[in-house]
């Protein structure tokens, strides 16, 4: 390439460059069982935000482990139990990128 940024691995091969796309981590947090959380982030205008949920320490054969709902509205990520249900402990990964 004639311009931009290239980052090479220790073996000299290309590892990352301005030809790539990435998601970056805006936040990671654990939501306790039955808890609600709402976080507002400062991100550059227009950045896209997604949230991944991961249940932690949940037995895979339990029928009543409900993941909390996650909603993304602008730069605010809200986590809350599903209506009328108890929710299990959950890790939320908030990722962002310049779309």
């Amino acid at each position: 390439m004639s311009y931009g940024l290239s980052i090479f691995k220790a073996d000299g091969s290309l590892g990352f460059s301005t030809a790539d796309i990435t998601w970056q981590t805006l936040d990671q947090f654990t939501v306790a069982a039955n808890a609600s959380v709402s976080n507002t982030y400062s991100v550059p205008t227009g950045f896209e935000i997604i949230a991944q949920r991961q249940l932690v320490d949940v037995p895979p054969n339990s029928q009543e482990d409900y993941a909390p709902n996650v909603t993304v509205s602008g730069s605010t990520v809200s986590v809350a139990p599903q209506s009328g249900l108890s929710s299990s402990q959950c890790i939320v990964h908030v990722l962002t990128r310049d779309p």
Binding site: G15, Q24, T25, H93, P99
Partner: protein, 322 residues
Amino acid sequence: MAYGFEATNDNGKVIINDTVENLHFVSKATRTGDDGGGYSDFPQYSSGSDYLDGRVIHTYTVSCTGTPIVFIKPNDYSRWHAIIKQSVSSNTWTFQVLISGTSTSNPPDLYCFVNADDIPVASGDTWGMQVFKSDGTTKTFDSRKQPLAITGGGSVSHPSDPTDSSGLPGLTGTHDSSSIHFWNYSNNDHDFRSTTRYNEYSNTNINASTTMFSCPSLAQGVHERTQKGYKVSTSFLNPDQHHYSTALWWVMYRGVFRLRSGYFDAGWNVYIAGYQFTSWWTEGGIFGGGGGNITAGTRPYTPKNINMGSNSYIIADSSRYD
């Protein structure tokens, strides 16, 4: 920006800056074993429609600071995969990965990524480029560990019916003379496999050789087929003797995923399954027999789907981290 560092890609999109952390490759998780596989059919049952998709559960561990985002790189792209459990003790994470089928061959690889500020760096590894936040201590990028470059992503959900037969399994027969099933009738007629039950999401960046995905499995479903049987034995000398039976097949499914060339599929696979048969009868009838009952198997769950909301998936090229 007035100060700091920012790198934009060829399309002018930010890929490194001093405010948001990049994810970096830590290592592959170490596979510690599997459960031997099972559930290619219903336990303790052998008659009609006695087939399931089968599954194997592999266990992996990885030690790292921070919470990893884990990608599954299938080594058999025809099979369905999902992380069905994750737990942490100190800094060691343990993952259970469910794979369709019963062969323990070709377990997937798990590629683990953490924030720049959490990556381990060898003490002698002193060259490269680091980017810090304005606090001067929180690292957002470190070229000594391979940064995550993604090739796509989106939002996925699972179909509401995990079973190949049309419609969800249900109940037929009654415990009275109107029953369509005779006493002790037990012959499953519902295909509980999930071969054709998935939602597909087009993504031209997916190939079936190096693509890996990150998408936690949240969806779960339990469904059952029930057959009730009945007969009556009448006599002028004794009270009517009533005979009742209930045959029940149940499957607990977990949401799973598959990568095909050009598609990300969200489907289902059996996690556990069972068969319960119960028969009981009153005293009386032609011969004046006594009452009694027999029961085999268990029914530990009730039919329903949970966690059916959409979840985010991202994909990347595993070959960059080999």
